[in-house]
Symmetry: C2
Subunit: 290 residues, 2 copies
């Protein structure tokens, strides 16, 4: 699996690489950004943070507006910014349900089971298996044994569910304004109906952070740092439901540490992400540098 | 002069205000952004940094991508992000020469003298007089006695020329990849021909940082911190010409301290600005906190 480097951009002493490769999971070309901090080299492998973006975004939005690279540069952490869905809908049988919150730009980090989506909408397998394996093969500067994950909104849902479904895969997990209980919010219900079918509620629960925490058993462990802005309209509209995740964490018999910080007045935008990116990079650095 | 607040956005502990007001200079509504750091209050007035944007930009680009608020928050400095030209071309007699580097989004921080532009293209008077006076009147949190200026590309030209033309108005001046000698580069020659006329070379020189430094006399003082990326295509194409400004500074009998730092591989984008924003805010803080 080889990557084409579309651009190499100097940033905070390191390099942001705009990459593209052919994905066998989505059966489409997939674009992504990779930030390599100044100290990254084959002899000095650096830990890796995956950042999963939200609805409508590509890997570019947070690369340009999140300022995570400023702090990743200081801590010697690489950041991977994948895309949020397959692109090139002319090659994809998009249903007439395609919208800003479903289909292109809205992959929800699941492997779809429904006709029209199951062939290409395989972002779960792409982000957890195909992409990391391709990166480890192509970039000897990356330490495949020290990997963490974060994300925003739909990408926060992705970060939480991927970490919960794959114990040990990620050293740490955090999220900005995550969709925390998709089976109980309009965004999630609409997406899961389209990707899994209305009846397939078991599959829905497999990709819901709150439902996954409820299934944790005594002896299981999970921890996450979460920030949510109290001025976030999507939070106010009940799309995020972090309280449901907090309740599940409190009631769990497992060792669950979910810290949700409600940030006064902050909205859902990159002005919010950039304001707390330093805290999240420092949180992950504690685990990635062990 | 009253401002309409279109949005108030929490950012780095402070607030980014999206403002609009009617300008008597441009005879159009003018949008701008104002960042107020956390400590700003009527009883704790904060110093003010004007950031002038480059070609095609509005006040939003650097507010979202420049990362300056992160450092302004720490140093207790407000930032004003004006627009780059009058907008609403249906009310403006734009000539058929209107283009991405001339006319809308390309005001060049001058007062135009040519027909079709002289009525509205008065960004020099707007940025140096009308806008600051309006801000001092509307925002008691701002300290009108401690003001500095910076900018990018065309806005770097603006920062340098406004500071050179108005000794004492700004405590300090810096620029990112500034158009340093517009009378000798295609962008400047095209813009000054359109705004001043081909013959009016005296007016051209009045708005050229290199020409203004040449005119400084013994006893005059000027200082600026400038960063330029060596991977910047506009630098390579001879649109910026910082070497001409350095030469004029070296040959001047006045007390001129122009430090141009050539940053290896950096381009012309906000990835470049965000990487060195901390240095620029710290540079201005030294003067603004005196």
């Amino acid at each position: 699996m080889t990557f084409e480097t579309k651009a190499t951009i100097a940033n905070f002493g390191g390099k942001l690489l705009k990459l593209s490769h052919q994905s066998s999971e989505t059966k489409t070309p997939m674009a992504l950004n990779l930030y390599l901090p100044p100290n990254a080299s084959a002899s000095t492998k650096v830990p890796v943070l995956f950042y999963l973006s939200g609805l409508t975004c590509t890997g570019d939005n947070c690369s340009e507006k999140g300022f995570l690279q400023a702090h990743a540069s200081q801590h010697g952490i690489a950041i991977v910014y994948p895309d949020t869905s397959p692109r090139g809908t002319e090659t994809i049988k998009i249903s007439d349900r395609d919208a800003w919150d479903f289909g292109t730009g809205a992959g929800f980090y699941i492997d779809a089971t429904t006709e029209g989506f199951k062939e290409n909408y395989r972002m779960y397998s792409y982000v957890t298996k195909e992409l990391p394996e391709a990166l480890w093969g192509a970039f000897p500067q990356l330490d495949s044994t020290r990997v963490s994950i974060t994300g925003h909104s739909m990408g926060g849902h992705g970060a939480l569910t991927l970490a919960l479904k794959n114990p040990g895969m990620y050293k740490s997990c955090s999220a900005f304004a995550p969709i925390s209980n998709p089976v109980n919010c309009p965004w999630g219900q609409n997406a899961f109906t389209g990707y899994f079918g209305e009846e397939n509620k078991e599959k829905w629960a497999e990709h819901d952070a709150t439902e996954l925490v409820k299934k944790l058993k005594e002896g299981d462990k999970f921890a996450a740092l979460i920030d949510v802005g109290t001025g976030d309209n999507f939070y106010k509209q009940g799309q995020l439901l972090p309280e449901n995740l907090e309740t599940a964490a409190k009631e769990s018999k497992a060792d669950v540490k979910v810290e949700v910080r409600y940030q006064p007045d902050y909205d859902h935008s990159y002005y919010f992400i950039s304001s707390f990116g330093k805290d999240h990079i420092e949180y992950h650095a504690k685990f990635l540098k062990q």
